[in-house]
Subunit: 187 residues, 2 copies
């Protein structure tokens, strides 16, 4: 059983592929920087993207959209995490958070799956944590070096190997929910 994952992000593909293989599902990587819509809500973006890519590729496929939501910044950078990472980077978030006591944040992920002509399904995952005082770690990608998951031992996501991050990451949770549904559907 194979599934097509549409993403331009190699890191995402590795994380998702590792999760799927454990469930006996092969994930085929279709590299494409497709156009996303602007919305404050990841689910809305994933729903629109899944519908669009499945229509254009004419095959069932899934996408994943994720973001870091910092509570003291009213959810910023949220759905625009990719753009904000490319412009402000981790140091920009740390600057915005300097002198801020409430460092609560969460990573959210939304997986969208769609078959051509069908209605998209969306599965979400989240992980609570806090913004670190400084950048730590070489692993992961994006804002991983400044995010400390609450369920962990104080290390940032960037200080963990993918297999450990996958134990409780937002992406792993959304992908697991999707795979549970998909496996049940195809039984």
């Amino acid at each position: 059983m194979a599934l097509t994952f549409v993403t331009s992000n190699q890191h995402k593909f590795q994380e998702v592929s590792e999760l799927a293989v454990k469930r006996g599902i092969e994930v085929v990587h279709y590299k494409w920087r497709y156009v996303e819509i602007q919305a404050d809500d990841l689910e809305e973006i994933a729903r629109a993207s899944a519908k669009e890519v499945s229509a254009q590729l004419k095959c069932p496929c899934f996408v994943e959209d994720a973001g870091l939501f910092v509570m003291a910044l009213k959810g910023f950078p949220g759905p625009y995490s990719n753009y904000v990472f490319r412009t402000l980077g981790n140091s920009g978030i740390l600057k915005l958070m300097s002198g801020v006591n409430n460092r609560d944040a969460e990573f959210r992920s939304a997986v969208g799956y769609c078959e051509p002509g069908g209605e998209p399904m969306v599965f979400v995952g989240r992980v609570e944590g806090e913004i670190a005082e400084q950048v730590r770690g070489q692993g992961g990608f994006g804002f991983d070096p400044i995010f400390i998951p609450r369920e962990g031992d104080g290390r940032t996501f960037a200080e963990m190997p993918v297999s450990e991050k996958n134990l409780f990451s937002h992406r792993a949770r959304a992908v697991d929910r999707f795979l549970n549904w998909f496996i049940e559907l195809k039984r």
Copy 2:
């Protein structure tokens, strides 16, 4: 001669309407928070929006997208200025710019016009300036209170009445280019 301007922003409508009336063109306000695409480039967003709204409304219409591009922040907040204003606000930009010597910035505007089934036309305008050290003024909207246009006398856009801002704003320049083209087209 009347033109339909699709926007959910009352301030934008006022600025644009004032410019059009001077040229003998009436602007009809169609209030709609349509869905925009994500792109680093305003022109691409305006082009896609114009095509989409004219197709859905089945009439010729125009849209306008604008953003503040801060050089020291690699263009941030750029096309996501609306979201960033709603989350970080003016104080967030000032915090990011604290201790930064290069305060160069520019406002950019892109007007997209399309007739149903046709190809969109895009007209751009820009105004150079710098980021103020603090919020100043009650007029305008968005990041106007922290933007000092280089051609002015040191006041921010929010310290000017609309008629004065319209003498050299990014939006006025884009709209004027559009109106010149449109008037020529309909002659």
